[in-house]
Assembly symmetry: C2
Homo-oligomer: 213 residues x 2
C-alpha cells in the first residue's frame, strides 16, 4: 500500500507517519519510484504499536526507539526481547537503596517471590527494572505510613500471575515471532488502564452487592 492508504487504514496522518519514519520509529517502505514507497501489514502493525507506546504508555520518542530496537533484534531470545522492550517503558526513579524503607521493601519483595515460587524474577533481582519498580513502590508506601508486606502483596501477586498467564496465552495464536513480541509489548501498555478501570468498576459492583446502594 502507498503512504496515503497506510494513513487511511491506521488513522494516523501522513505528516505523523513521515515524522515516525524520520525518527526511525517505523521502518522505511520498499522504494518503488524516487518519490514513492510501498508499505505492508508489518508497517500497519508497527504504526499501531508506536501509537500505543507514545499515546497510552507515555513513552518518550527516544525510549520508544529502544523498545522497537529490542522488538526487532532477532539475535535475542523471546524472553530477552520482551524484557528489553518492557524495560524501556517509563517507570518511577529507583528509591535510595540504603534508606531503611527500601531495605525493608526489598526484604518483603524477596519473601514474596520465595512464597510465590517466582524463581526467575528472584534470580534476576535488581537486574530487572520491574523488580526495582516493585521495591520502589513498596518503599514509597511505607514512607507514606502504609507498611505493606509479603502477606498483603501475595494475593494481589497471584491475581497478576493469572493475568500474565492470560497475556502469554493470547500470544500463542500469532504466527510470527516479531508479531508475538510486538503484541506482548502493546498488551502490557494498553491493558494497564483497562485493568485499573475494571478494578474500580468491580469495587463499585461488589460494594453495591455487599452493602446495598
Amino acid at each position: 500500500m502507498r503512504l496515503s492508504e497506510l494513513s487511511e487504514r491506521s488513522g494516523v496522518s501522513t505528516a505523523t507517519i513521515k515524522y515516525y519514519l524520520r525518527e526511525q520509529l517505523l521502518p522505511q517502505g520498499r522504494r518503488i519510484t524516487a518519490t514513492q514507497a510501498e508499505y505492508d501489514d508489518s508497517h500497519l502493525r508497527r504504526l499501531r504499536l508506536v501509537r500505543a507506546l507514545i499515546q497510552v504508555g507515555k513513552v518518550p520518542v527516544a525510549a520508544a526507539r529502544d523498545v522497537l530496537a529490542a522488538v526487532d533484534d532477532e539475535t535475542l531470545g523471546r524472553t530477552v526481547r520482551l524484557g528489553a522492550a518492557l524495560w524501556a517503558l517509563p517507570r518511577p526513579p529507583d528509591a535510595d537503596p540504603t534508606a531503611p524503607a527500601t531495605v525493608r521493601a526489598r526484604e518483603e519483595t524477596e519473601a514474596l517471590l520465595t512464597e510465590l515460587g517466582w524463581d526467575r524474577a528472584q534470580d534476576l533481582g535488581d537486574l530487572s527494572p520491574s523488580y526495582r519498580t516493585l521495591v520502589t513502590t513498596v518503599a514509597r508506601l511505607a514512607e507514606l505510613g502504609y507498611e505493606v508486606g509479603a502477606a498483603q502483596l501475595a494475593p494481589y501477586a497471584r491475581q497478576m500471575e493469572a493475568v500474565a498467564e492470560h497475556d502469554h496465552d493470547a500470544l500463542a495464536a500469532l504466527p510470527e515471532e516479531v508479531e508475538k513480541v510486538e503484541t506482548a509489548v502493546a498488551a502490557t501498555v494498553l491493558y494497564e488502564p483497562v485493568l485499573l478501570s475494571l478494578r474500580r468498576l468491580a469495587q463499585e459492583e461488589l460494594a453495591a452487592r455487599r452493602y446495598g446502594l
Copy 2:
C-alpha cells in the same frame, strides 16, 4: 498528641500539616490553649490518606477535599461514600459519546457486564465515572487500532473482580465505619502502582519459565 508529635509520627513536616489544616484536608485538632491543639490517631490516619491521594493518586487539592467530604459524610451509606470518594479521583476526560468507536465500546462494555453478571454496575451505567472511564479506555484502544471486545475483556474483568473481593475482605477487620471508607479509598489509590508492577514482574517470570532466559 501535639503538632510536633503528629509531624514526627507521620513523617510530614509541620509546615505541610499546617497547610493541610488551612486547606481543610485535615480536621482541626482539639484546641487546648490559644496557641496549641491536641491531635489523635484519627488525624494521623487522615494525614496518611491525604498524602496517598495527593502524592500517589496525583489528586489535586480541591478534588482531595471532595474525596474527604464524601468519606466523612455519615448521612450516606457505605457504598455511596466509597463511590463518591472513588469518583473524585482523576480520570481521563470522557470520550465523545457519539463517535462510532465510543458507541461500539459502550456495546462491548454492556455485553461484558451482562456476561459477568455485574448488575449494579450495569444499572448505574453512565452515572458511574468508573463505567465511563472503561468505555473511554476501550474506545481509545479502538481508535489506536486495537479492537477489544467483551470476549477479550472478560478474563481480565474476572481477575479484577477477585482483586476487588480481596480489597473488600481486607476492610472487614476494621472497627470504625470512617476507617473502612478511608482504607478502601487509600487501597484503591495505593495498590494501583503495586498491581501494575506485579503484572510486569509476573510477565517476566512467566516468559522466563515458558521460553527460557
